[in-house]
Subunit: 281 residues, 2 copies
Amino acid sequence: MDASAHVFDQAIALTALGDDRFEGHTSDAYWNMVGPFGGITAATALNAVLQHPALLGQPVALTVNYAAALAKGRFIVVARAARTNRSTQHWSIEIRQDDADGVPAVVLTGSVVTAVRRETWGINDAPMPAVPAPDAVRGPPWVAPVAWIQRYEVVQLDGALPQHWDGAVSAADAAQASLSRLWMRDAPPRPIDHCALTALADVFYPRIFLRRRRRVPAGTVSMTVYFHADDAALRATADGHVLGQARAHGFGAGFHDQSAWLWNAAGQLLATSVQVVYYKE
Amino acid sequence: MDASAHVFDQAIALTALGDDRFEGHTSDAYWNMVGPFGGITAATALNAVLQHPALLGQPVALTVNYAAALAKGRFIVVARAARTNRSTQHWSIEIRQDDADGVPAVVLTGSVVTAVRRETWGINDAPMPAVPAPDAVRGPPWVAPVAWIQRYEVVQLDGALPQHWDGAVSAADAAQASLSRLWMRDAPPRPIDHCALTALADVFYPRIFLRRRRRVPAGTVSMTVYFHADDAALRATADGHVLGQARAHGFGAGFHDQSAWLWNAAGQLLATSVQVVYYKE
C-alpha cells in the first residue's frame, strides 16, 4: 500500500497473485452502513481487469452484482478473460471472501467488456441539463453518518436527501419525483479515470428515500455502467466536477430501478448507468 | 423437442445435463444475419436459470454479454448459483460452443439475479406514452431479410427503419432523434413470461441506423434487463401486445447505448432495459 497515494487509489489497490487472482483489502475510508460503499467495490472489480496483463483496450461496459456485504478485511478478486476477440474482450469477475466460518464465499459477480476504441462518427443525444456552475451555488449539506460520504466533494442541486422524513409521497410529476442532480468529484480532487467514474455512478442514494421520504432498508443489487468516455474525454475532464443525474422509472414488489447520467463540466457525456435496488415495505 | 410447442418454446428449449449444464440448439426460425437473434439467445440463457433445480424466486435482473456469434447447431449453457441468500440468488452464466476446430469456446457471459418478490409499496414513474391502440393504426411494414423478424407481430409507430438510407443525420431534437415506438408480441401470440419479455427487450434494431440513416456494421455487445413485472403482471398481460420504446443517449468511438421501456397495453411497466451496441465508421 502506497500511503502517499490518493485515498481512492489506496482503496482500490490490488496485489496480483497470478492465475487471474488479485488480493485487496476493504477501506475504512469508504465504509458505508454494513459494508464498503458499493461504488468503491465496483471500482475495485474494474481495477482488477485494468491491471490484468492480458487486458485489451479500454472499458466499454461493466456489470456488478452485489451478492453479499463485504466484511472488513482481505478479499480476492478473480478476473478472467472468458473470450478475447480481435478488438473486444469479455471478462468474468468474482469477488470472494472467507465467511465467518472461514469458508470462501462469493460476495460479488460481474462482467466487463473492454475494446480497442477507434474514432467514428459520434454525437451526444443527452445534452447536459442547464444547471448553475459548481462554484455558483451553495446546495444543502452533503452529510450522512457514513465515512464514504466524506470522500466526495458534492454540490447538491435537485433532489437532496429529504430533510423531513414525513412519508409524504412526492407530488412532483413522474419524471421529477425521483430526480437528483449534483456536482461531484473525489475529495481531495483527483484526475478522473474509468475506476473513479465507476464509483461516481453509484454515489446517488436509493431513489426510494426521495420518492417516499421514508427511511426503509434498501441497497443496490446490481449495477451496470456504460463508458462513453474514452481516455481522451477523461483527460479533458481532469479533476474537474462531474454532473450526475439520477432517476427511477418503476418501483414494485421490493425492487426499483435507477438510471444515471454523468457529464463533465464541458457537457461531454462520460457514462450512463443503471442499477436495481432492493427495498423493504 | 416438442414439435407441437410454440416456436419460441422450441427455440429456447434446453436439456438438463446435470452439474449446472444444459444443452440447447440454435433455431433457424430466429436466425439473424450471422447468428441467432440476440434476444432469443438471452432468453435461452435465462431459461437455463429458470429450469435449474436450485432456483429461488423470480428474475429481477439479467445481463448478457455477446462474446461471439453462435454457429448453427448445438451449444451448452452453464448456469451456476454463485450465491444463494435468504431471498435473493446470484447466477453466473456462460454459453459455450465448439469452434470450427472443435475447441470449446465461450460465446456468451452473463449474470442473473433472482429473488422472492414480496408485496411492497410501488408506483410506475414511467407512464406509457399516449399512442394509438395496436388495432387502430397501420404502421409501415415490419420487414427485413432475416428470419426472426417473422417471429414477431409488430405495429410500428415512431422510428421505423429508414426507407431512404440517405446518410442524413436526423434533424429531430436529441430526445427524439433515435426514438422508436412499436407494439409487439410473439407470432403466433403466446402468453408472455420472463423469457419472452427478455427477447422483446432486444427487438429494436441498432439506433445508429435510425440516427444516421446509414447501414453500418453494428451489433449488440451487452444487454441488461430489469424485470419490473412479477408473475402476476405477466399473467395480466397474457398474449396481448407490449409497447416498446427505445432511444440512445450517446454515440462515439465505436459504441452507442440504448435504453428501452416495455409496457403492457394496460400501461403496466413490465421491464426496463439497456444495451451497448458496437458500430463501425
